[in-house]
């Protein structure tokens, strides 16, 4: 069940350094939201605060509010472990567990909560997740082979299957295609289109054509000056951002790249 995310007044710090300043935005359910901006502008950092993955980095902390359908994920009683099983993540570099088979990779997260899942239920979940990730037909005959034997694009889809097997409501994708060739990229983009029927999807991308192709709404991040914190400059319908941006900075970035 896709959920809405409401961010208000979020600051992210690395130690004393303010990395991202005062972001407020709403991310709609059952849609794809793209974050664009130059490298180091804080969009990936911000993305990681949406499921508290930034806490893995020593010294990183966030201040502000992030509501997942009215529940503050930074609330005092909230357990980051549960936040992450509700808001899944796919990384820039495909990272299937190298010692596990394809099957075990998909089921790994689900097993954490349900140790004694019956075999038939597990089989169903694996098939459902792999089908959902458009990977089933390619791997159904070698589920017991290691996941690291797949191609880069297949590995990335395996990671998506692994993330969806936990049944999250939101999927965060941190430049999921930047290490892939154009054909694999296309396969992932097709998949994103399909996944947005069920999930809220947030994708960070360097590739503006990709943002234009896959997203419904786009948020543009930028540094106010070198060494200064990153900021959300503008957010709106993708169409509007790419054709009639309201801010000069957005227009410069977009035309500069497209130019």
């Amino acid at each position: 069940m896709a959920k809405r995310i409401d961010v208000s007044g979020l600051h992210v710090y690395y130690g004393d350094f303010l990395a991202v300043e005062d972001v407020s935005m709403t991310i709609e359910p059952r849609s794809v939201t793209a974050f664009i901006g130059s490298s180091g502008c804080g969009k990936s950092t911000f993305l990681r605060t949406l499921n508290r993955m930034h806490e893995v980095t020593p010294g990183a902390r966030a201040e502000g509010k992030v509501l997942l359908d009215d529940l503050d994920i930074y609330g005092a009683e909230v357990d980051p472990v549960l936040v992450r099983s509700e808001i899944g993540m796919v990384f820039q570099k495909a990272n299937p567990f190298p010692t596990m088979s394809i099957y075990d990779n998909v089921i790994a997260g689900a097993r954490l909560n349900n140790k004694r899942m019956p075999k038939s239920e597990a089989d169903d979940l694996v098939e459902e997740s792999l089908r959902g990730a458009n990977l089933w037909e390619e791997v159904k005959d070698r589920l017991d082979k290691p996941g690291s034997g797949l191609s880069g694009g297949q590995q990335q889809r395996l990671c998506i299957a692994r993330a969806t097997a936990v049944k999250p409501s939101v999927l965060l994708m941190d430049e999921p295609c930047s290490a892939l060739d154009p054909i694999s990229t296309l396969a992932i983009e097709d998949l994103i289109h399909k996944l947005k029927e069920d999930y809220t999807i947030v994708i960070v991308t360097h590739n503006m054509q990709q943002a234009a192709r896959v997203s419904d709404r786009t948020a543009f991040f930028n540094l106010s000056a070198p060494g200064k914190p990153g900021k959300l400059i503008e957010m709106g319908e993708t169409n509007q951002i790419f054709t009639r941006p309201e801010k000069k900075e957005t227009e410069n970035y977009i035309t500069g790249r497209f130019g």
């Binding site: 993955m53 990272n95 567990f97 010692t99 990671c159």
Partner: protein, 321 residues
């Protein structure tokens, strides 16, 4: 010959340069070869000097348990009990040290506050800096007396387990005590190897586990331990190699007797290395030669274990590459 291969290198006086290179390369190469010669020498001299006693031995060197080599006539000695004690002591050390070492490595890499981690790791390394003779002194005079009541308790309540059969030694100078001290001595070795592999676990794998809602322990179970398996096994075997050859701590702690016995809480057993150190000063007749033969057996056992360790580590590196 190996000279500079840079095309830009404008050759200085040609003859001079070549001589310098040849001499230096020769020196370096010579050192490498010298190492091979030393090793060949170790094996050869040991064999040559062990040979007379092995020839004169009236019992089977590999299966006999007694040691009576100090006579000029008809020496009778065998390495069976010693080899057994050696392997048993090292196995105890390994069984005790490996789980603790994994715990320490996890602590340093994933649990300790990051600012303290390096210092705490350094403290563990200090354990490796303490000379084995000091461990022996400590094990015999401090640890053993403390263990006497523990062993008595163990024979009383766990005596039904064959390993812990009574009556417990009243001095606790037993193989288990030696094994405990050996375990402390090899902890830093296993810890260091495990730490290395744990630190090499790609961030991507750890984040993948956390991102699907794993707790810290589940992250370790899913991403860290499978990745570090070969490093842990390799480290454990290197530690065992060290424990097999350790001399002084065992020689000072153990109240020896030559027997094949699984009773860890009773006096008995002896290891090859400790036996050599204790017997050597009093060795006469074929004594020294026989001890050298025992040393060869020790060399062979440690060699096999160390080679196994390198093999496991190398295979693990290949797999994860």
């Amino acid at each position: 010959m190996t000279t500079t291969d840079s095309p830009k290198a404008a050759p200085p006086p040609a003859g001079k340069r070549r001589i310098g290179d040849v001499v230096f390369a020769g020196l370096a190469r010579g050192s490498g070869i010298l190492i091979l010669l030393i090793l060949a020498g170790v094996a050869a001299f040991l064999l040559v000097q062990a040979w007379p006693s092995l020839m004169a031995n009236t019992s089977n060197f590999l299966t006999d348990q007694s040691w009576d080599a100090n006579s000029r006539e008809n020496p009778s000695f065998g390495v069976a009990a010693l080899a057994f004690g050696t392997v048993l002591a090292a196995t105890i050390a390994l069984a005790l040290a490996t789980p603790v070492a994994i715990g320490i490595a996890l602590f340093i890499v994933y649990y300790a506050p990051r600012r303290l981690a390096a210092t705490l790791g350094y403290l563990v390394d200090l354990l490796a800096a303490i000379p084995s003779v000091v461990y022996g002194l400590w094990g015999m005079m401090i640890l053993a007396p403390k263990l006497v009541p523990v062993y008595e308790g163990m024979t009383r309540y766990l005596g039904w387990i064959p390993l812990f059969a009574g009556p417990a030694s009243t001095s606790a100078r037993t193989l288990l005590t030696a094994g405990i001290v050996l375990a402390v001595m090899i902890l830093p070795i296993i810890t260091a190897m495990s730490r290395d592999v744990f630190q090499q676990v790609p961030q991507g794998h750890r984040e993948a586990a956390l991102a699907m809602g794993a707790t810290r322990w589940e992250m370790i179970r899913l991403a860290v331990l499978p990745f570090g398996k070969s490093g842990i096994v390799g480290g454990a075997m290197l530690g065992m190699g060290r424990a097999l050859g350790e001399t002084m701590a065992v020689a000072m702690i153990l109240s020896p007797s030559l027997a094949i016995s699984f009773d860890l809480l009773q006096s008995g057993n002896q290891t090859i290395a400790a036996h050599i150190a204790l017997q050597y000063p009093e060795a006469t007749g074929y004594g020294v030669s026989a001890l050298i033969a025992a040393g060869l057996v020790l060399f062979a056992i440690t060699l096999a274990v160390n080679m196994g360790a390198r093999y496991v580590v190398a295979r693990g590196n290949k797999e994860s590459a």
